[in-house]
């Protein structure tokens, strides 16, 4: 039976996966993917609460916003990654430890 708990469980799984990816992976693109996972977990949460608790479409609209922002953020993030690659010829996260060029 699919209820709120199911959604939250999936959402939590997604969130944990995102966190894990962000912490464990050293590839910046992979970290961006982790961030996407976390955002999606949040969006799923909005949608689930909207359906089971609130009963209106507020949460859905918020989910749509999150998707748009996630796309924008992914575009910006990838831009940064390209620029970073031009500088360091690497997308390893530990190469970004310095504040200097």
């Amino acid at each position: 039976m699919i209820n709120l708990g199911t959604y939250l469980g999936i959402s939590f799984a997604l969130f944990i996966c995102g966190i894990f990816v962000m912490i464990a992976r050293k590839n910046i693109i992979a970290i961006l993917l982790g961030i996407e996972l976390i955002l999606n977990a949040a969006a799923l949460n909005f949608a689930a609460y909207s359906k089971f608790v609130n009963g209106n479409l507020d949460g859905h609209i918020m989910s749509l916003f999150i998707i748009v922002i996630a796309a924008a953020e992914a575009a910006v993030g990838l831009g940064i990654v390209i620029r970073f690659f031009q500088l360091r010829e690497s997308i390893h996260i530990d190469d970004a430890a310095s504040l200097q060029n």
């Binding site: 962000m22 912490i23 050293k26 970290i31 996260i93 430890a97």
Partner: protein
């Protein structure tokens, strides 16, 4: 006439500013500096003349100007402690001002001739200006404190002027001797001022007079002991010691003969108008204190011994300036003797008359020395023809100092001797004083004319010197000053009357202007000083003629007609005696050195021990050097030096250093271990520790930050669980 600051102060300030200006310009503009000095003293002479003529116009015993300003204020709460300075002019000050400025002006004028080829022509005038202004300041002062300041200033100037030819070794020593000897008196003088201050609470003349009139000294007690009179004696003695130093009284006279190492015009200034006059002037001002301290007998004896002793030394001097120097000491002895026997007016008059004829004598000696470049009388002789004007001036002055009638010295000295005689006849302890006084008068007449005869009469003894001397012509700055001064050796100017309010009496009487105007502050007149008023310095002068009862100042006040007559007769006898003595002295000198009927060498051989004693000036210098300095002062200094080195230096200074070294070790330990290690380095260490921690955290590894964030957030959420 109005008396404001600007009509009185220029008398002092003009020569002083001349000194200040000349001190800067003298090297480049010597001629200008000389002109400034001479001009300044001449203008201040005009100011003094203005004051003098005003005082002669008012012609009142009590006429005075007293302007006071607060110098500094040490009052604390209820204790009023103000140090005042001020200007005090009475008849005596007016006469002194005129004498000092007039004599100084003529000496300045003479110096422009006498010193003009000297290498330090200008510098001489710099010192002369300061010297004169210091003397004028002293005369104008209304209190002993400012008197002391000017007194010391004069001491310095005399030091500079006596040591003016500092290339000569003797000049340097003489200047030091003058300074040191007068300092002995100065220290006593300062102590005397403090003693007076402790009783009166002021050093002002009028305050002191009022305190004495009110019996403050007599009524002073500490516990059950009456200390007033001993304290007054002590104060009077200390002040008189100042006089002894400055006015060269035995035993502090030794500096004055050596002072002739200075240029002759400066000797004239020191011996006449400034330095030595200051001492007598001080004693005259402090006369009530001398009387309150019962010191007059002592003063009379010191004066008599000085007058006679110096005259005997002068008998055998061969240096023309040395004769004059000893005659100065002798004449100062007469003034002090006059103070001692209560002959106040005559003593002051002798100060004035002596200033005039002694300045003239020194300038004449300077004229002689300048023309023959020699000071030794045995090498002179017959200079009458070469130096007629100098001879004339010197002859008049010798008449004056010898006490020939109608000359100034007679008028003043005769009165002193008459008073001494009158006192000796009533009080036997003054008999030696009178005898020494008359004896000194004989010697004075003798040695002055000995000097005159040896210098100007007879044949030239050294033809080389005689032939090289230039024939003297009248010159405005060479012999005109002498002739002007010699005119004022006439007794008329001192025993007459300027205003018609007295009567002209060539033998001196109580109606002449000097006697009328100069009043002795004794028991009769002291209470009147309470009426004297002080004014603020800036106040507009509203003075009117102040008439005080003349009886209070009459010398014969309180005497019965019989006694007054007796005093009068004694004075006439004294006058007759001193005339005879003067002529006898002159006759003696004439027979010895002109007529040669008496052989002076016979006298020298008849009394060889006396001659040796006189040659050695009674061994005063030897006494001071060999006994007091070698036996007393130097061992004392050595003892003090030992105490200083052995005790004070070793225990106090070095001991303190040892204590300090220990203290320093403790302080160093504390500094190293506590301050430096714990606090300064501790701060650094703790900062470094924090740095290690924070540096590891600030790694820049973003995943680590994120993990920390997650952990913190998770633990926060964990706490919200409940």
């Amino acid at each position: 006439m109005d008396y404001t600051f600007w009509t009185i102060a220029p008398i002092v300030l003009l020569p002083f500013f001349a000194f200040v200006i000349n001190a800067f310009i003298v090297k480049k503009f010597t001629k200008t500096a000389v002109a400034i000095s001479t001009g300044a003293i001449f203008v201040s002479f005009l100011y003094a003349l203005r004051i003098f003529s005003d005082f002669m116009n008012v012609y009142s015993v009590g006429y005075h100007i007293h302007k006071v300003f607060n110098w500094f204020d040490l009052s604390t709460g209820a204790h009023v402690y103000k140090i005042n300075m001020g200007i005090y002019i009475d008849n005596m000050t007016a006469v002194m001002l005129l004498m000092v400025t007039a004599v100084a002006t003529l000496i300045h004028v003479f110096s422009t001739w006498y010193m003009h080829d000297d290498a330090r022509f200008g510098r001489f005038f710099v010192y002369m200006s300061l010297f004169t202004s210091a003397m004028l300041g002293l005369v104008l002062s209304d209190n002993l404190l400012s008197v002391f300041i000017f007194w010391e200033l004069m001491g310095f100037c005399s030091y500079s002027l006596i040591g003016f030819y500092y290339e000569k070794e003797g000049a340097g020593n003489a200047s030091m001797k003058a300074f040191m000897t007068t300092r002995v008196g100065d220290v006593f003088f300062l102590v005397g001022i403090l003693a007076i201050w402790s009783v009166v609470g002021s050093a002002n003349y009028i305050d002191i007079y009022n305190a004495i009139a009110a019996g403050k000294f007599n009524n002073l007690t500490i516990g059950m002991f009456s200390v007033g009179v001993p304290l007054a004696t002590f104060a009077a003695f200390s002040i008189f010691m100042g006089t002894m130093g400055k006015s060269a009284q035995v035993p502090l006279h030794v500096w004055l003969p050596d002072a002739m190492f200075g240029p002759t015009p400066c000797s004239a200034l020191i011996h006449a108008a400034t330095m030595v006059a200051a001492g007598v002037y001080l004693s005259l001002r402090m006369y009530p204190l001398m009387e309150a301290g019962h010191l007059t007998t002592f003063i009379a004896y010191i004066g008599a011994i000085t007058a006679f002793g110096a005259a005997t030394i002068a008998l055998i001097q061969t240096d023309i300036k040395a004769v004059l120097a000893y005659s100065t000491i002798s004449q100062l002895g007469y003034m002090v003797l006059g103070i001692g026997v209560g002959s106040y007016n005559a003593s002051f008059m002798h100060l004035i008359t002596h200033a005039v004829f002694k300045a003239c004598l020194f300038l004449s000696a300077g004229s002689v020395i300048h023309s023959i470049h020699c000071q030794e009388m045995p090498q002179m002789g017959g200079l009458r023809k070469k130096l007629p004007y100098t001879f004339l001036a010197m002859l008049l002055c010798c008449f004056a100092i010898a006490g020939v009638p109608f000359f100034s010295g007679f008028v003043s000295k005769d009165r002193i001797l008459g008073d001494a005689l009158a006192l000796a006849l009533t009080d036997p302890k003054f008999i030696p004083v009178a005898l020494l006084g008359f004896g000194g008068a004989l010697l004075t007449a003798f040695y002055m004319f000995r000097m005159l005869f040896l210098t100007f009469f007879g044949e030239a003894r050294d033809h080389h010197i005689y032939d090289h001397a230039h024939q003297e012509h009248i010159g405005w700055n060479s012999n005109v000053p002498l002739l002007i001064l010699s005119v004022f050796t006439l007794g008329l100017f001192y025993s007459g009357s300027f205003t018609g309010q007295g009567e002209v009496n060539l033998f001196g009487s109580k109606y002449e202007w000097f006697n009328t105007l100069i009043h002795k502050p004794d028991a009769h007149s002291l209470p009147h000083f309470a009426d004297y008023k002080k004014e603020e310095l800036g106040a507009v002068d509203t003075r009117e003629k102040l008439e005080l009862p003349k009886a209070a100042y009459d010398a014969t006040h309180g005497l019965s007609e019989h006694e007054a007559h007796r005093v009068h007769v004694i004075h006439q006898v004294g006058a007759l005696a001193s005339i005879l003595i003067a002529f006898f002295g002159i006759f003696l000198a004439y027979s010895m050195y002109v007529k040669k009927s008496i052989n002076p060498d016979w006298w020298a051989q008849a009394f060889p021990r006396w001659r040796t004693a006189l040659k050695n000036k009674y061994y005063f210098d030897e006494l001071y050097i060999n006994k007091i300095i070698q036996k007393g002062m130097i061992p004392f200094n050595n003892a003090l030096a030992w105490f200083d080195m052995g005790v004070f230096d070793r225990f106090a200074v070095d001991g303190w250093a040892t204590v300090n070294r220990y203290l320093y070790n403790v302080a160093r330990w504390f500094d190293n271990n506590v301050i430096d290690s714990a606090m300064v380095d501790g701060t650094g260490a703790s900062v470094r520790l924090m740095n290690v921690v924070l540096r590891t955290v600030q790694s820049g590894k973003i995943q680590l930050y994120f993990m920390v964030l997650i952990v913190v957030l998770a633990s926060y959420i964990w706490t919200l669980r409940f």
